[in-house]
Subunit: 307 residues, 5 copies
């Protein structure tokens, strides 16, 4: 095992060897194995946005097996999806790549200012499907956030007892925040910190903007001169906010119109000390050869094979 | 066992042999045994609409035994009903046809914009009554939908552990949707996809119209040119949206004034790759000989015995 | 055992011998033993309306033992009451008459448009008090109805596992209904059907009027010519609506100013195929000798000893 | 054991010998041992009203041990308090007097029209602290009352299984009642009856006024001429309303400006057939010697040593 | 063990030896070991206010290990933090200082008038991390307070069974109180008393002002002449209100602009009979050498080494 992976595992001193084993599997799989960087393929857009909006531009992606194959061929570290999508391929692709079962989902057939979630899978489901971990989304800023934190904690406790890793999507939304505030640097750092305090091993947030949302935070950031001018600086602040870099934090893209813009973001994540990317729509909403080229470029940036 | 049934069973690679056995029983019973097509008789209208509205036009149907007999004589693949109706015949007709216990129901003595449900049976009830599976309704679009998804998931997990199949009625309704939206093609495909992601083996939706309800979906459907002009095309899109055809999707009739119109719909389901029909009121609200003729025609269309 | 009781037991083919035994005890006790008709004494008015309003006109009835004695002397099939009243006599009268423990109650110290209930006893309480069954009230039409259905179902499942009978009071009330609607024939039939679908062995409803409450039902009743002109016809329709007479349905009085009016109602119940009466206030709110005469007349009408 | 205590125990025929033993301990302790009358010291005012308002006039009472000592020296039948106060003395005074653990409390740092409660102790807490019983408050008339009834019932079931007595404070309050209605004779009798129906062994209500709150009750009380003119008559009606005197009912003082007025009330309780008093603030809010004299007078009135 | 610690342990006569052992560990660790005084380091501000607002002024504090080291070097009695922060150092610092796991947290990404909380850890988590106790916050005055009291009680029961100590942060807030009322002397004393009644071993409140919030309390305080003029008097009243000094009460600073002002407060706590301080932001929001000097001064005041 690489020194870097060994080092990362030391950060999780309260976890049992079962969970460490699964964290190691996550970091030792695929094109970035051993680097301590990760690119994960998540596919819950069918549930979150609807199948037509998610897959019509690349109809091969309606088939749940497509995403297993894409993740394997691209050399992603893991594939994360809801119960149905994993059940539909877990036997066929058993042992071929690490899987993360998302235990919470939300749909948009009813839009709500303060999003809540359904529990759509169990820790036992993750175990029986051979997953390395569970995934869970929290919406800091929503009036339902406290219930979500409590649910996450209970599921995380069970997952850790059973040797699984805990991956948290922390997406600020709801009546506590302005639209700009959802990706503000102070809010993003706060959201990542909450996930870490709730016991997440791996945290996923959106790339932050330089906006400062909360007045009390703004005052401190300005007084202390927290550097937030460049994307790399903002990534660095998020990493710092999640236990000074002792938790794995990965990012999903902000608004990026071109592939080159995405690559620029990836460089910023790398340079800011981020651990990687979670890339969904940009992967499976294009034809597979194109997706493989696109993902290879990203992984090369992370591995240092490409600038 | 027919090759087609064997093929369908391969889609459920994460289920235990007990559940596969019950799925096979469902597909290997009745006039369509072995074809991979299904016609199921559901009778929960007494609960959902009241006994008078449901049975006064064919008073023999007040007797719970009537529906067992009708399903057996017609060669349906299964009979689905709430607890009371199944309890009233399960011993007498034990082993004569596959049964599905509906675990959720709703009545109309109070009309609500956002429907919720009562839990009206348990997985253990299904086991003690000799059922092959459980049934559950979700109402995507209702403000109670997330609670229903969570309940379904928990019941489905228990059912699968105990070797039962999971049948989900996915009926979009509630304040998230316009009246037309309830049967819109984008919404119907979305509702079927959610059921599949929640772990359903068999999904039942209403026949969709060409209406596109959600603006974000409409944009994609139009841009990508998703074919939705004919009923068969819309059925095909729903089938595609439920794991590219790797989950069993069946349909109930939309507004059909004449038998011939129903048969036209059935042809569209067949031609669009749908797996069959669930036919309630059109079966038990006419005299039995007429119902048997009617159901035979439908089954003949599915089996190919009739055009 | 009489042929009639044996026949009735065949309707409950999904119940275990323990429950059948208790159903038989209910039907084989008292003046109507073996006839398949029942007169049950219920006394929860102290809880539901207050002790003064219930017992001041016959102060002997403040004593919980009075009601056991009244039911025994009158030859009622069973005595139904809440926890406290049964606890206060169950040892003294052990084995002398079948008891039904009511597990739900409601008081009127706060009046609500949509009634809910407290759970006031457990299945285990019913077992330890030697009861033959549990009782539970549902209020179809109330916004709390779905929670009540779910509670009933769970308690009924436990009761059946432990060999008890399940008696359901189905009282339409709440914001879904007009005042007249609470006893409308369509609503009463619907309420009885719901109780049967939820697994009740014995259902208690109020005597229905000829009013038709729900527009969709009214259309069908008028089109199909469902006979609802006389009370006996309406009783017959309710009986038909509860599994075509294959569940025991009994009735409580509507507005009856004189004893003779009550007897007329009893004749209508008998002639319409109803299974009996549940007679509370008309029994214990008069002096005991008068009550015994009154109940004897009713039982004679049911047994055929009197016209 | 005195004949009176033996007689009272016969009223609880459905309880196990463990609970009877604890009821006997309650009646056989202190100055009124064996008389069937009780004076209980309750001290939850620190939680209910705040420590300053409760103890500043007698600062010795801030110490939890004070109340154990006061109850022992005065010869009270029992001492009732919340978890913290009992934990702070249960070892030191183990076996020296019967203890009742109050399992519910409410504070006034937020005033609400419809009071609810926190669960502040468990049946297991009562067992480990050596208590003879549990205490619980219900607020008939509050919109939260049904939840409280259900909680009480569940805790009472557990307490009875474990051989403890169940003491219920029944305090009508909330949006269902006028201010006068909270102590109206019809409402007080109703509140006591509800507690008895929920399985209480010992019930505590406030002394009722002659006010009649509920129109339907008023009509009956006036028609039947229920005597409510004197306090003794009202006590008698409350006793009658709790199973015709077959449950133990005790009273707390109404507005009493002088000690003599309290003694007058005690005489009325005695003459009306009440079982005793629960005396909190009048005991611990005066210096101990004064309190002992005051309590002795009350006990002498109950025992007959004083007129 | 010092006589003072032995004496304090006698106050907890209802706790098992396991809990006493952990209380002793708390009192026998660090610079104040054996004195019966405590200084505890709490670090949940990252969760409660956000990481930037909490740590930007001393970036070393982003690292969870920093706080363990600070507490050890300063000789604090214990370190209290949420799950994530403790998990990130519990192995590395195992056995080096007593830990308290905070089981409840709240964030400010949504501000609410009536604060509620998430459950962010379990008693089992505290056990597996080697903690001496659990921490929990209640907000008396919030409309959610009763639910929090009930949760605390249940967690405290479990913690005591497993030999842990229970530490309660009692912070009056919410619609029941004015802004000034949150730190009023009557409210603070009440809040501390509630925590003690709920079974807390160690209670943490804010330093109270002389404001009297509740009219009924004000009347009594003024009539009885409760001394509240100086801070030491107010501390004394709070200590008196928590079982006359038989529960450990510690304080956090009010508004203190200078270090000297904090030291003045500490002298008042000491002189008023308070048991110590909980010092968060004033410790970790300055450089470590400065923090160590600052904390040493405080401990010296408590130990008597400094006036």
């Amino acid at each position: 095992m690489s020194e870097r992976v060994k080092e990362i595992l030391t950060w999780y001193g309260s976890d049992n060897p079962g969970t460490l084993t699964n964290l190691a599997r996550l970091m030792n799989h695929g094109a970035l194995a051993g680097t301590g960087r990760l690119v994960i393929l998540p596919v819950d857009q069918g549930f979150e946005h609807g199948p037509g909006r998610s897959f019509a531009m690349n109809p091969a992606a309606y088939d749940p097996r497509y995403h297993f194959q894409l993740a394997i061929e691209a050399g992603c570290n893991a594939y994360a999806a809801p119960l149905g999508f994993l059940e539909a391929g877990a036997r066929e692709f058993a042992g071929q790549l690490p899987l993360i079962l998302k235990l919470s989902n939300h749909d948009v057939l009813l839009e709500e200012k303060d999003p809540a979630q359904a529990i759509t899978g169990s820790v036992q489901d993750a175990v029986r499907l051979g997953c390395v971990g569970i995934g869970f989304t929290i919406y800091p800023g929503s009036e339902h956030r406290l219930a979500m934190y409590s649910q996450l904690r209970a599921l995380a406790e069970e997952a850790k007892q059973r040797g699984l890793a805990v991956v948290v999507w922390s997406y600020p939304r709801g009546s506590g925040l302005s639209k700009d505030g959802e990706t503000a640097i102070d809010v993003t750092a706060y959201a990542a910190h909450i996930a870490a305090q709730l016991g997440a091993h791996l945290i996923k947030v959106k790339l932050p903007t330089a906006h400062l949302e909360q007045a009390a935070a703004k005052k401190v950031y300005e007084k202390e001169g927290v550097p937030t001018g460049t994307l790399a600086e903002r990534v660095r602040h998020v990493v710092q906010s999640t236990f000074d870099g002792r938790r794995i934090v990965i990012f999903s893209g902000g608004a990026a119109d071109t592939d080159e813009a995405v690559f620029e973001q990836v460089r910023a994540i790398r340079d800011g000390g981020g651990f990687g990317s979670i890339i969904g729509r940009n992967s499976f909403q294009r034809k597979k050869p194109d997706a493989l080229r696109f993902l290879k470029t990203i992984m090369d940036i992370y591995s240092g094979a490409r600038k």
